[in-house]
Each structure stands twice: as C-alpha cells, then as structure tokens.
C-alpha cells in the first residue's frame, strides 16, 4: 500500500500569513499532486510535478506556489494567505508512466487549513 504523509494535519493562520504544507511519499512514485477539496467543488488540482525540480500548473494555481525538492517531497506554499484559501488540502502521488498501476493516485490524509 502506497504511503503518503502530510504535515501539519491542521493549521490556523491569519490573512496575509505565510504557510507551507508538506507532503512526503516513500513509494518511489514519479508524480505528485496538490489538490484542494471544498464542499460543492470536489477535488481541484492546484499544482503537480513529474519529478524533483519539475512543476506543472493545475486548474486553480492562483495564490499558490509549489516546489518539489526531491522525489519524495512536495511542498505547497501560500505566501499571502487569504480566507478564500481555507480548505482541506490533499497531496497525492502516482507511479507514472510504466509504473505498476501507473495511473492510480494515492492520497495522503489531508491538511485542514483555516485562514482567519
């Protein structure tokens, strides 16, 4: 079973604050993703990455930066947090092309972010 961990699990910040969400996968997966989940909107892709140093823009990237420092670690950065970024954030990973179950995404436990 693929293992994806996220930290912190809960975070409260104020408008204009600086937040970093962390994600680590230990399955040697190539691809990693950041989603936000909001009632009525489902899962929306923020950023994703094909490997260390690579970054791709998702569907709702405004106000977010991301960085993939290693194959294992993917970070989501909110440099000037706003209340509209209050959400449940999921990280996921997948093996990628040629990997076993290459298209299956494995999700972490999520981080609840509240921006006051």
């Amino acid at each position: 079973e693929a293992a994806v961990t996220q930290s912190p699990r809960n975070k409260v910040t104020v408008t204009g604050g600086n937040v970093t969400l962390s994600c680590r996968q230990t399955n040697s997966h190539n691809y990693m993703y950041w989603y936000r989940q909001d009632t009525g909107h489902g899962l929306r892709l923020i950023h994703y990455s094909y490997g260390a140093g690579n970054l791709q823009i998702g569907d709702v990237p405004d106000g977010y930066k991301a960085t993939r420092t290693t194959q294992e670690d993917f970070f989501l950065l909110l440099e000037l947090a706003s209340p509209s970024q209050t959400s449940l954030y999921f990280c996921a990973s997948s093996p990628g092309l040629g990997g076993f179950n290459q298209d299956t995404q494995y999700f972490g436990p999520g981080t609840r972010l509240l921006v006051l």
Binding site: G40, G42, L45, F107
Partner: protein, 113 residues
C-alpha cells in the same frame, strides 16, 4: 468550463438496491475514467477504473458502464450495503498526460438499512 459533470449531487437508496451514479465529459480525447470513493473523515481512494477500449468493467458489486458516443459513464453498485455510504468522485484524464485527473464534483451516496 467544467470538463467532467457528475450527477446526482446526492443519492439515497435502500440496502440491497442498485445505486447508479452518473458522469459525463466534454473532451473526446479523455481516455481513462476512474471512480474514487471517500468515506467520511478519510482521503479519496481508487475504487474502479475503465479505458474506452471496453464499455464495461466489473469488480465484484461495482460496475462501470461506458458510452463513448454519448460521452457518458456510470457506476453501478449492486446489492448496496450501508458500508457503501460515501462520496463518490468520477474523473477523467487524457491519453497524453494520463497522470493528470480532472474530477467531478462528487455524489454523496447514503445507503439506508
């Protein structure tokens, strides 16, 4: 533009009935269609998936029916159990960039005992 549309938003069925969840999509170049489920307080997990080379995929009580001409696919849950109560998301991805999923907004399914 919403690439993947899901209906209904919520669905309640009695235990033992077949629950039917529907999705449609816009882009005819999509070629991978998974369903994920998410139990309360948990993270989404893959349930079953299909590629358009076939129009049906079964896994136990779960079946995907796929209609390429109408750009629709559905999840049928036979003999529904209270433990099936969850939110179900359909998704789609392109042949190139098959790694990137576009999700529907989800169907909250409640199975009444």
């Amino acid at each position: 533009q919403q690439q993947v549309r899901q209906s209904p938003q919520s669905l309640t069925v009695w235990e033992g009935e077949t629950a039917i969840l529907n999705c449609s999509y816009e882009d005819s170049t999509f070629d991978y269609f998974p369903w994920y489920h998410q139990f309360p307080g948990e993270s989404p997990a893959l349930l079953i998936a299909i590629r358009p080379v076939s129009n049906k995929k079964e896994d136990g009580r779960f079946t995907i029916f796929f209609n390429k001409r109408e750009k629709k696919f559905s999840l049928h849950i036979a003999d529904s159990q209270p433990g099936d109560s969850a939110t179900y998301f359909c998704a789609a991805s392109w042949a190139e960039g098959a790694d990137r999923l576009t999700f529907g907004k989800g169907t909250q399914l409640i199975i009444q005992p």
